[in-house]
Amino acid sequence: MMLPAIVTWSVAAPAVGAAFAASLVEVVEAFTIVLAVSALRGWRPAVSGAAAALVLLGAIVLLLGSVLDRVPLHWLQLVIGVLLLLFGMGWLRKAILRAAGALPLHDENAAFAAERAALAEAAKRRDTSLDWIAAMAAFKAVLLEGLEVIFIVIAVGAGRGLLGAAALGALAACVAVLAVGAVIHRPLSRVPENTLKFGVGVMLSAFGVFWTGEGLGVGWPGQDLMLFVFVALFLAAGIGMSALLRRPAREPAR
Protein backbone atom coordinates (compact mmCIF):
# COMPACT_ATOMS: atom_id res chain seq x y z
CA MET A 1 0.00 0.00 0.00
CA MET A 2 2.93 2.35 0.72
CA LEU A 3 4.66 1.78 -2.62
CA PRO A 4 2.87 4.45 -4.72
CA ALA A 5 3.60 7.09 -2.08
CA ILE A 6 7.27 6.05 -1.95
CA VAL A 7 7.55 6.09 -5.74
CA THR A 8 5.87 9.51 -5.96
CA TRP A 9 8.12 10.89 -3.23
CA SER A 10 11.15 9.32 -4.93
CA VAL A 11 10.59 11.44 -8.03
CA ALA A 12 9.06 14.48 -6.27
CA ALA A 13 11.96 14.96 -3.83
CA PRO A 14 14.71 15.16 -6.51
CA ALA A 15 12.44 17.41 -8.63
CA VAL A 16 11.77 19.83 -5.77
CA GLY A 17 15.39 19.66 -4.58
CA ALA A 18 16.78 20.29 -8.07
CA ALA A 19 14.36 23.18 -8.65
CA PHE A 20 15.24 24.71 -5.26
CA ALA A 21 19.03 24.38 -5.60
CA ALA A 22 19.19 25.48 -9.24
CA SER A 23 16.88 28.41 -8.60
CA LEU A 24 18.96 29.40 -5.58
CA VAL A 25 22.04 29.73 -7.83
CA GLU A 26 20.16 31.76 -10.46
CA VAL A 27 18.34 34.01 -7.97
CA VAL A 28 21.62 34.77 -6.15
CA GLU A 29 23.16 35.88 -9.47
CA ALA A 30 20.14 38.06 -10.34
CA PHE A 31 20.06 39.48 -6.79
CA THR A 32 23.73 40.54 -7.06
CA ILE A 33 22.97 42.66 -10.14
CA VAL A 34 19.74 44.12 -8.75
CA LEU A 35 21.66 45.00 -5.57
CA ALA A 36 24.43 46.68 -7.63
CA VAL A 37 21.78 48.70 -9.48
CA SER A 38 20.09 49.75 -6.24
CA ALA A 39 23.42 50.68 -4.63
CA LEU A 40 24.21 53.01 -7.53
CA ARG A 41 20.81 54.44 -8.49
CA GLY A 42 18.48 53.61 -5.60
CA TRP A 43 15.75 51.01 -5.17
CA ARG A 44 13.22 52.52 -7.60
CA PRO A 45 14.93 51.56 -10.94
CA ALA A 46 16.11 48.26 -9.45
CA VAL A 47 12.64 47.23 -8.30
CA SER A 48 10.84 48.54 -11.41
CA GLY A 49 13.28 46.71 -13.74
CA ALA A 50 13.00 43.49 -11.74
CA ALA A 51 9.19 43.76 -11.53
CA ALA A 52 8.89 44.30 -15.32
CA ALA A 53 11.01 41.19 -15.90
CA LEU A 54 8.86 39.16 -13.50
CA VAL A 55 5.71 40.23 -15.41
CA LEU A 56 7.31 39.14 -18.69
CA LEU A 57 8.44 35.85 -17.12
CA GLY A 58 4.88 35.28 -15.89
CA ALA A 59 3.58 35.77 -19.44
CA ILE A 60 6.18 33.30 -20.76
CA VAL A 61 5.08 30.74 -18.14
CA LEU A 62 1.42 31.11 -19.17
CA LEU A 63 2.32 30.76 -22.86
CA LEU A 64 4.55 27.74 -22.30
CA GLY A 65 1.94 26.13 -20.04
CA SER A 66 -0.70 26.21 -22.76
CA VAL A 67 1.78 24.86 -25.35
CA LEU A 68 3.02 22.04 -23.07
CA ASP A 69 -0.54 20.81 -22.49
CA ARG A 70 -0.85 20.02 -26.21
CA VAL A 71 2.42 18.08 -26.63
CA PRO A 72 2.14 14.25 -26.40
CA LEU A 73 3.82 13.01 -23.19
CA HIS A 74 6.53 10.83 -24.78
CA TRP A 75 7.59 13.67 -27.11
CA LEU A 76 7.63 16.05 -24.14
CA GLN A 77 9.77 13.57 -22.15
CA LEU A 78 12.18 13.10 -25.07
CA VAL A 79 12.62 16.82 -25.84
CA ILE A 80 12.93 17.79 -22.18
CA GLY A 81 15.22 14.83 -21.52
CA VAL A 82 17.63 15.85 -24.29
CA LEU A 83 17.54 19.51 -23.18
CA LEU A 84 18.22 18.37 -19.61
CA LEU A 85 21.21 16.32 -20.79
CA LEU A 86 22.60 19.35 -22.66
CA PHE A 87 21.97 21.74 -19.77
CA GLY A 88 22.72 19.43 -16.82
CA MET A 89 25.87 17.85 -18.25
CA GLY A 90 27.05 21.34 -19.25
CA TRP A 91 26.66 22.53 -15.65
CA LEU A 92 28.29 19.37 -14.30
CA ARG A 93 31.25 19.67 -16.70
CA LYS A 94 31.84 23.28 -15.60
CA ALA A 95 31.41 22.42 -11.90
CA ILE A 96 33.94 19.55 -12.23
CA LEU A 97 36.45 21.88 -13.91
CA ARG A 98 35.93 24.48 -11.15
CA ALA A 99 36.22 21.87 -8.39
CA ALA A 100 39.43 20.60 -10.02
CA GLY A 101 40.84 24.13 -10.13
CA ALA A 102 40.98 24.26 -13.94
CA LEU A 103 38.42 27.11 -13.99
CA PRO A 104 38.17 29.91 -11.40
CA LEU A 105 35.23 29.82 -8.98
CA HIS A 106 32.37 32.27 -9.54
CA ASP A 107 32.75 35.24 -7.18
CA GLU A 108 29.58 37.20 -6.31
CA ASN A 109 31.62 40.08 -4.83
CA ALA A 110 33.56 40.39 -8.10
CA ALA A 111 30.30 40.21 -10.10
CA PHE A 112 28.83 42.93 -7.88
CA ALA A 113 31.89 45.17 -8.36
CA ALA A 114 31.90 44.54 -12.12
CA GLU A 115 28.21 45.42 -12.44
CA ARG A 116 28.67 48.62 -10.41
CA ALA A 117 31.66 49.59 -12.56
CA ALA A 118 29.73 48.89 -15.77
CA LEU A 119 26.81 51.02 -14.59
CA ALA A 120 29.13 53.84 -13.49
CA GLU A 121 30.81 53.70 -16.91
CA ALA A 122 27.41 53.85 -18.63
CA ALA A 123 26.49 56.81 -16.43
CA LYS A 124 29.63 58.66 -17.55
CA ARG A 125 28.89 58.00 -21.22
CA ARG A 126 25.24 59.07 -21.05
CA ASP A 127 24.05 61.90 -18.85
CA THR A 128 20.35 61.27 -19.49
CA SER A 129 18.14 58.34 -18.57
CA LEU A 130 20.48 56.91 -15.95
CA ASP A 131 17.52 55.42 -14.13
CA TRP A 132 16.48 53.82 -17.42
CA ILE A 133 19.93 52.22 -17.86
CA ALA A 134 19.84 50.98 -14.27
CA ALA A 135 16.29 49.61 -14.63
CA MET A 136 17.28 47.85 -17.88
CA ALA A 137 20.27 46.22 -16.14
CA ALA A 138 17.97 44.89 -13.40
CA PHE A 139 15.37 43.86 -16.01
CA LYS A 140 17.90 41.90 -18.08
CA ALA A 141 19.42 40.20 -15.04
CA VAL A 142 16.08 39.01 -13.69
CA LEU A 143 14.81 38.03 -17.16
CA LEU A 144 17.90 36.02 -18.15
CA GLU A 145 18.29 34.23 -14.81
CA GLY A 146 14.49 33.78 -14.60
CA LEU A 147 14.44 32.04 -17.99
CA GLU A 148 16.83 29.44 -16.60
CA VAL A 149 14.62 29.00 -13.54
CA ILE A 150 11.54 28.50 -15.79
CA PHE A 151 13.36 25.92 -17.89
CA ILE A 152 14.54 24.02 -14.83
CA VAL A 153 11.05 24.02 -13.26
CA ILE A 154 9.48 22.77 -16.51
CA ALA A 155 12.25 20.26 -17.11
CA VAL A 156 12.12 18.59 -13.72
CA GLY A 157 8.36 18.91 -13.27
CA ALA A 158 6.61 18.46 -16.61
CA GLY A 159 7.38 14.78 -17.21
CA ARG A 160 5.43 13.53 -14.15
CA GLY A 161 2.89 16.30 -13.50
CA LEU A 162 5.11 17.84 -10.82
CA LEU A 163 5.16 21.39 -12.18
CA GLY A 164 3.47 22.74 -9.06
CA ALA A 165 5.95 21.02 -6.72
CA ALA A 166 8.95 22.16 -8.78
CA ALA A 167 7.57 25.71 -8.91
CA LEU A 168 7.23 25.64 -5.12
CA GLY A 169 10.91 24.65 -4.85
CA ALA A 170 11.87 27.59 -7.08
CA LEU A 171 9.61 29.96 -5.15
CA ALA A 172 11.18 28.82 -1.86
CA ALA A 173 14.61 29.65 -3.29
CA CYS A 174 13.42 33.16 -4.31
CA VAL A 175 11.95 33.78 -0.85
CA ALA A 176 15.12 32.51 0.87
CA VAL A 177 17.44 34.73 -1.21
CA LEU A 178 15.23 37.82 -0.87
CA ALA A 179 14.84 37.29 2.88
CA VAL A 180 18.57 36.88 3.49
CA GLY A 181 19.41 39.65 0.99
CA ALA A 182 16.98 42.08 2.64
CA VAL A 183 18.67 41.50 5.99
CA ILE A 184 22.35 41.63 4.99
CA HIS A 185 22.16 44.08 2.02
CA ARG A 186 25.28 42.54 0.49
CA PRO A 187 26.01 40.09 -2.34
CA LEU A 188 25.40 36.53 -1.12
CA SER A 189 29.01 35.53 -1.66
CA ARG A 190 28.94 32.80 0.99
CA VAL A 191 26.46 30.66 -0.93
CA PRO A 192 28.53 27.62 -2.02
CA GLU A 193 27.65 28.20 -5.65
CA ASN A 194 29.92 25.59 -7.22
CA THR A 195 28.80 22.89 -4.80
CA LEU A 196 25.17 23.74 -5.61
CA LYS A 197 25.92 23.74 -9.35
CA PHE A 198 27.69 20.40 -8.96
CA GLY A 199 24.66 18.90 -7.18
CA VAL A 200 22.18 20.41 -9.61
CA GLY A 201 24.25 19.26 -12.60
CA VAL A 202 24.19 15.72 -11.16
CA MET A 203 20.41 15.78 -10.63
CA LEU A 204 19.58 17.36 -14.00
CA SER A 205 21.85 14.89 -15.83
CA ALA A 206 20.13 12.01 -14.00
CA PHE A 207 16.69 13.39 -14.92
CA GLY A 208 17.96 13.85 -18.49
CA VAL A 209 18.91 10.18 -18.89
CA PHE A 210 15.64 9.13 -17.24
CA TRP A 211 13.30 11.26 -19.39
CA THR A 212 15.26 10.67 -22.62
CA GLY A 213 15.03 6.93 -22.00
CA GLU A 214 11.31 7.11 -21.22
CA GLY A 215 10.74 9.25 -24.34
CA LEU A 216 12.50 6.58 -26.42
CA GLY A 217 10.30 3.84 -24.93
CA VAL A 218 12.68 2.49 -22.26
CA GLY A 219 10.89 0.91 -19.30
CA TRP A 220 13.38 1.46 -16.47
CA PRO A 221 13.60 -1.42 -13.96
CA GLY A 222 12.40 -0.08 -10.60
CA GLN A 223 10.74 2.81 -12.45
CA ASP A 224 11.22 6.15 -10.66
CA LEU A 225 13.57 4.63 -8.07
CA MET A 226 16.14 4.21 -10.87
CA LEU A 227 16.63 8.01 -10.65
CA PHE A 228 18.55 7.48 -7.38
CA VAL A 229 20.90 5.04 -9.12
CA PHE A 230 21.51 7.59 -11.90
CA VAL A 231 22.13 10.35 -9.34
CA ALA A 232 24.64 8.12 -7.50
CA LEU A 233 26.46 7.25 -10.74
CA PHE A 234 26.68 10.86 -12.00
CA LEU A 235 27.79 11.99 -8.52
CA ALA A 236 30.49 9.32 -8.39
CA ALA A 237 31.61 10.21 -11.93
CA GLY A 238 31.72 13.92 -11.06
CA ILE A 239 33.65 13.46 -7.82
CA GLY A 240 35.99 10.97 -9.50
CA MET A 241 36.67 13.31 -12.43
CA SER A 242 37.33 16.27 -10.08
CA ALA A 243 39.86 14.20 -8.12
CA LEU A 244 41.47 12.82 -11.27
CA LEU A 245 41.85 16.21 -12.94
CA ARG A 246 43.14 17.85 -9.75
CA ARG A 247 45.92 15.29 -9.20
CA PRO A 248 48.59 16.59 -11.66
CA ALA A 249 48.58 20.04 -10.03
CA ARG A 250 49.45 18.47 -6.67
CA GLU A 251 52.59 16.71 -7.90
CA PRO A 252 55.66 18.29 -6.30
CA ALA A 253 57.87 20.28 -8.65
CA ARG A 254 61.21 18.67 -9.34
Partner: protein, 72 residues
Protein backbone atom coordinates in the same frame (compact mmCIF):
# COMPACT_ATOMS: atom_id res chain seq x y z
CA UNK B 1 16.62 44.67 -29.46
CA UNK B 2 19.74 44.14 -27.32
CA UNK B 3 17.53 42.45 -24.72
CA UNK B 4 16.29 39.99 -27.34
CA UNK B 5 19.86 39.32 -28.47
CA UNK B 6 20.91 38.78 -24.85
CA UNK B 7 18.02 36.35 -24.37
CA UNK B 8 19.06 34.40 -27.48
CA UNK B 9 22.69 34.39 -26.31
CA UNK B 10 21.57 33.13 -22.88
CA UNK B 11 19.50 30.33 -24.44
CA UNK B 12 22.42 29.34 -26.67
CA UNK B 13 24.72 29.38 -23.63
CA UNK B 14 22.26 27.25 -21.64
CA UNK B 15 22.15 24.37 -24.09
CA UNK B 16 25.10 24.74 -26.45
CA UNK B 17 27.87 26.25 -24.31
CA UNK B 18 30.30 23.50 -25.28
CA UNK B 19 29.93 22.45 -28.92
CA UNK B 20 31.82 19.16 -28.38
CA UNK B 21 29.58 18.15 -25.48
CA UNK B 22 26.37 19.15 -27.27
CA UNK B 23 27.30 17.34 -30.51
CA UNK B 24 28.34 14.22 -28.61
CA UNK B 25 25.08 14.11 -26.60
CA UNK B 26 22.82 14.78 -29.61
CA UNK B 27 24.69 12.27 -31.78
CA UNK B 28 24.61 9.58 -29.10
CA UNK B 29 20.88 10.02 -28.35
CA UNK B 30 20.20 9.79 -32.11
CA UNK B 31 22.27 6.57 -32.27
CA UNK B 32 20.34 5.03 -29.36
CA UNK B 33 17.02 6.02 -30.98
CA UNK B 34 18.17 4.36 -34.21
CA UNK B 35 19.22 1.17 -32.39
CA UNK B 36 15.84 0.95 -30.63
CA UNK B 37 14.12 1.51 -33.97
CA UNK B 38 16.19 -1.35 -35.43
CA UNK B 39 15.04 -3.74 -32.71
CA UNK B 40 17.51 -3.40 -29.81
CA UNK B 41 15.88 -4.21 -26.46
CA UNK B 42 14.81 -0.81 -25.01
CA UNK B 43 16.11 -1.66 -21.52
CA UNK B 44 19.57 -2.52 -22.86
CA UNK B 45 19.43 0.65 -24.96
CA UNK B 46 18.54 2.64 -21.84
CA UNK B 47 21.58 1.40 -19.95
CA UNK B 48 23.73 2.02 -23.04
CA UNK B 49 22.39 5.60 -23.00
CA UNK B 50 23.42 5.96 -19.33
CA UNK B 51 26.89 4.49 -19.93
CA UNK B 52 27.36 6.65 -23.02
CA UNK B 53 26.40 9.85 -21.20
CA UNK B 54 28.82 9.10 -18.34
CA UNK B 55 31.59 8.35 -20.86
CA UNK B 56 30.88 11.53 -22.84
CA UNK B 57 30.99 13.58 -19.63
CA UNK B 58 34.33 12.07 -18.61
CA UNK B 59 35.97 12.40 -22.03
CA UNK B 60 34.74 15.94 -22.81
CA UNK B 61 35.68 17.20 -19.34
CA UNK B 62 39.15 15.63 -19.56
CA UNK B 63 39.72 17.17 -23.01
CA UNK B 64 38.55 20.60 -21.79
CA UNK B 65 40.73 20.36 -18.68
CA UNK B 66 43.80 19.52 -20.77
CA UNK B 67 42.97 22.40 -23.10
CA UNK B 68 42.69 24.82 -20.15
CA UNK B 69 45.96 23.61 -18.62
CA UNK B 70 47.78 24.15 -21.94
CA UNK B 71 46.16 27.59 -22.35
CA UNK B 72 47.28 28.72 -18.90
Amino acid sequence: MTVLLDVLKELRGMFLADAKLSCAILGFVALIALLIHDGLDPTIAGFALLAGCLTILAVVTAIESRHLVRKN
